[in-house]
């Protein structure tokens, strides 16, 4: 059957067993990449000609912002898959993605505010990019709150998926905000379609941290989803087995 893998993917048990083997590798990769990238960025990348050493915040700010946005796509797409195919696992992934995205958005906003002080002279500015990121944070918190507020799980799943899907309007606005409104936030440093406006000596450590953040994101999403599945499927035999055997 061509579609068998798709149905199997929807099985929480299959997912739990399959992903267990990936976790240590993802954890190892993210730890190595994040440590190497951070040391590289903090100590070995050259100083920025305009911003001095404060620019070193970029090595946590940009990856966190990247993943905050990518995480939103992932949450919305999982919600859509859940709505269309009524897949429990997709809803679990969607719910797990919300707190992770909220924390990453918080990191992006917080480090951005700290970076703003020496660079712009103010912690907070109502700049288009910053405001749309704040809306992103509220969207994530909204999904989290909604998933807690509704008692019936299936209703909560659908409501969260709808909110997540409606909220995707915000994503292109965030991407384009630095071009549409030319306010304080600097335009994108990394571009896929044209040459990036960053020197290789700063780009490689940045790339290292970004890949590290991606691995960390995958690892965190898997562990959160797995725990969520354990809670949801606690009445099934396989979950009770997993919990008592401590695997």
């Amino acid at each position: 059957m061509a579609w068998q893998w798709f149905h199997r993917l929807g099985s929480p048990r299959w997912f739990y067993q399959k992903t267990g083997a990936w976790l240590p590798w993802l954890a190892l990769a993210s730890a190595v990449l994040l440590i190497v990238g951070s040391i590289w960025g903090l100590g070995f990348a050259p100083e920025d000609a305009k911003q001095g050493n404060s620019y070193r915040i970029i090595f946590v700010h940009v990856p966190a912002a990247f993943l905050a946005l990518a995480g939103y796509y992932l949450m919305a797409v999982s919600g859509a898959i859940g709505l269309i195919w009524k897949m429990k696992l997709a809803f679990a992934v969607m719910r797990a993605a919300a707190p992770i995205g909220a924390v990453l958005t918080f990191i992006a906003l917080f480090t951005g505010a700290i970076w703003g002080k020496p660079t712009w002279g103010a912690y907070w500015v109502w700049d288009a990019r910053i405001t749309s990121m704040l809306i992103l944070l509220f969207l994530y918190i909204g999904v989290m709150a909604l998933s807690q507020a509704v008692n019936r799980e299936q209703v909560a799943d659908r409501a969260c998926a709808l909110l997540a899907l409606v909220g995707t309007v915000n994503i292109p606005i965030i991407y384009k905000s630095v071009d549409w409104w030319f306010t304080l936030h600097q335009p994108a440093t990394l571009r896929l379609t044209e040459a990036s406006s960053i020197d290789p000596s700063m780009f490689y450590p940045l790339l290292t941290v970004i890949i590290g953040f991606y691995c960390m994101y995958a690892w965190t999403l898997l562990t959160h989803t797995r725990t969520l599945l354990l809670r949801r499927e606690i009445r099934t035999k396989w979950v009770q087995q997993v919990l008592t055997e401590g695997k």
């Binding site: 951070s38 903090l42 100590g43 070995f44 990348a45 050259p46 100083e47 001095g52 050493n53 404060s54 070193r56 915040i57 946590v60 700010h61 966190a64 707190p99 992770i100 924390v103 918080f106 990191i107 917080f110 480090t111 700290i114 970076w115 002080k117 020496p118 000596s201 960390m216 690892w219 965190t220 562990t223 959160h224 797995r226 725990t227 354990l230 809670r231 606690i234 009770q240 919990l243 008592t244 401590g246």
Partner: protein, 74 residues
């Protein structure tokens, strides 16, 4: 590639920008650590909850068995 600072103190200071840089890294590290620990803590909680439920079920079964024995002997 070489180390950009002349001393460790220099590295910490970063020409006056050190405080901003280090706070950013510390908060990021703390937030990511909390995110990583959360499933582990939740899992422990679920485990304890399951054990509690299983104990209740066992106790109930035991009581029922004892009562049945009493009824049968009577």
């Amino acid at each position: 590639m070489q180390f950009q600072f002349s001393s460790f103190a220099d590295f910490l200071m970063m020409d006056g920008h050190g405080i901003y840089v280090w706070i950013s890294y510390a908060v990021t590290f703390a937030a990511l650590t909390a995110l990583a620990l959360y499933p582990w803590i939740t899992r422990r909680r679920i485990q304890r909850e399951l054990q509690r439920q299983q104990r209740i079920v066992q106790r109930r079964r035991k009581v029922t068995k004892e009562r049945m024995a009493v009824v049968e002997s009577a």
